[in-house]
Subunit: 382 residues, 2 copies
């Protein structure tokens, strides 16, 4: 018997009741029954995004929503600033380049977060910048960027929009889209929303919609004007992912029942506990300003991370995530995203301890678990 634990930052575990909801016989999408669920889910999304604007649902991965953000608001030749601090920052850069934008990147070592002043001074020197693109949480490095502070800066610029990939931050860290001045917020189903992948979300501020009016890049499947028109009628322009949207309604009910503040608190506590644990084991965190979605830490010098990951996944049953690109094999990432509670953290940490010990790393068994418990004991049963 091998119980499986998914501890990678997406896809994240799907709650049993959501799996069962999605296993119900499929219904037709052009019906009052589906429109009712759709409308309720759409309302729920607004609460999580903290926006008065529509949150549109797209059949696709998060990348589809990232591309939609760009092609619906910008034009070739537009100057854009990309905060490039990891794999997903690179994705903003790559998509923008494909569409002929003049891309300036603020390149950072993986693990670092941008400083609001860096963005401010760039924008002061380059007032013709049309968009700033960033991740809320850069999944590849587990770093959190200061979205709120940067939003306040961009809010004052009439000709610049702030585009945030919130794929591993929305639903993890409180995100006040309207108040913070986020003009486009994007996320996907398979992270904090505890669903399988295949459904993406995107919301635009009034400023972003006004950019949309002047955006000339041809688009069809990702044309948000057409989607807005349909979704205001509680339907979609093209066939929606019926089962995922039915599941989303259940997920949102779960999130509201727990209370969004408690959802964020849970991520914070499990993040704190995991970080304390890996540090107690003597490892160095990758992120200077860590996200509560996942914890990344450096493995011992020369350690074969890839082999360890594979062993843990196939023989022990725990799927962690390794590093990407130049960090491949050098770091390990432990997710605390979505359907994850205190004992998942204990399992994750204990797996690291026993697994690394088996791999010959000098580990003080129990040190990480104890450090995690010190934090989690104040949380459980409360």
């Amino acid at each position: 018997m091998l119980k499986k634990f998914l501890m990678a930052p997406g896809p994240t575990p799907v709650p049993e009741k959501v799996l069962l909801e999605m296993a119900k016989p499929i219904i037709h999408h052009r019906t009052d029954e589906f429109s009712k669920t759709f409308a309720e889910a759409a309302e729920g999304l607004k609460k999580v995004f903290n926006t008065k604007k529509e949150v549109l649902m797209l059949a696709g991965s998060g990348t589809a929503a990232m591309e939609a953000a760009i092609v619906n608001t910008l034009n070739p030749g537009d100057k854009v600033l990309v905060i490039n601090a990891g794999k997903f920052g690179q994705r903003w850069r790559d998509i923008s380049k494909v569409y002929g934008m003049e891309v300036v990147t603020l390149d950072m070592d993986w693990g670092l977060s941008v400083k609001p002043e860096q963005v401010e001074s760039y924008l002061t020197a380059n007032p013709d910048t049309r968009a700033v693109m960033i991740q809320g949480s850069e999944t590849s490095t587990t770093a959190y960027h200061p979205i709120k502070e940067i939003g306040q800066i961009i809010k004052t610029k009439a000709d610049t929009i702030f585009i945030v990939d919130g794929i591993t931050s929305i639903g993890v860290h409180e995100t006040l889209m309207d108040e913070w001045g986020i003009d486009i917020a994007v996320t996907g189903s398979q992270k904090a929303f505890m669903l399988p992948p295949g459904l993406a979300f995107i919301a635009l501020s009034d400023k972003a919609w006004s950019f949309c009016e002047k955006a000339k890049i041809p688009r069809y499947y990702l044309d948000l004007r057409r989607e807005l028109k349909s979704q205001l009628q509680a339907t979609t322009a093209y066939t929606p992912t019926v089962t995922l949207i039915n599941g989303l309604k259940v997920v949102l009910d779960m999130m509201f029942e727990e209370g969004l503040e408690n959802v964020y608190k849970r991520h914070q506590v499990n993040g704190d506990a995991t970080r304390a644990a890996v540090q107690a084991l003597g490892f160095k965190l990758l992120a200077e300003c860590p996200s509560n979605a996942a914890t990344g830490f450096y493995l011992p010098e020369g350690f074969e991370g890839g082999k360890f990951e594979k062993f843990m996944r196939e023989r022990v049953g725990i799927t962690y995530a390794g590093g990407q690109d130049h960090l491949k094999g050098k770091i390990l990432r432990i997710s605390h995203l979505g359907y994850h509670d205190a004992f998942d953290t204990i399992t994750a940490v204990s797996g690291i301890e026993m697994g690394l010990a088996k791999f010959g790393v000098d580990i003080k068994l129990g040190a990480g678990v104890t450090a995690a418990q010190e934090i989690l004991k104040n949380y459980i049963g409360e």
Copy 2:
């Protein structure tokens, strides 16, 4: 108690074992376990498409794959011929126009199928045509187009590709992509593939891939070069729809166990039986050359089709499909697509008989069912 029957041409009923497969705990997509399933599903798709080329899987609706066909092979200004015989022919036209192609439409009354000679004479007069776009089965009219014959014509033209939306024909009617000279074949998960919506498939011939090399429209999420590179390694460029692909593997196993010839035969027999039934009831078929995906027929003059559909769906439990655009309320479409067998046809026909009788239409109860039985009795138990 109200049992539900989904008799609309997509989404179609999902078999219980597929629902249960997809309700299993989700797994990570960058693992050998998932790659194995992915590779097996990809091999299975090739068999259904009858192609030696890769069949790529995209996270999106069928429309995403239609757009991918265009943006990956054509350039603005290219002359394209669209067979416009219904709602989905219009979609080819609309996407092509968005991307600046010079679109010529061969407009036909809804219900008609194009004649191969019409395409041939157009291409002889317009040898600079870069692509011909068509539906295998035009879902809005339930008409089948002569794909094989048109393929043979286009096969001889080195500078023209044949793009087929097989969304309700692949898996319903035998489709020999390579042999017939189909250059791009597109389909979606929620039709013959008996899955929820959200996964689309697309395959390109060598000729289409050579067009791809010269295609300059910017694209990122739908860039098939990037997808091909990843999918040849049994992975995807962006997060795949893990659950749908796991379900696909089960669906393909079911289809191969039944035997593809038997799958086509089943659609043929249920189509024949449904058509015989509605004609025995005195109704006129919409399609001259009907598809085996669904049967469309004209409702009595002045009859309120929309009201009837709603009553049948909400009070009787059967979801049929009505007409779209100018046929709204005037026709009814009965699906025999996917997970549909003889007694589903009996239910569909019996529902029409009793429902219309309740709505005051002069119906000879049992006449349709009897006509269907005459055909189905030779099929059941064989």
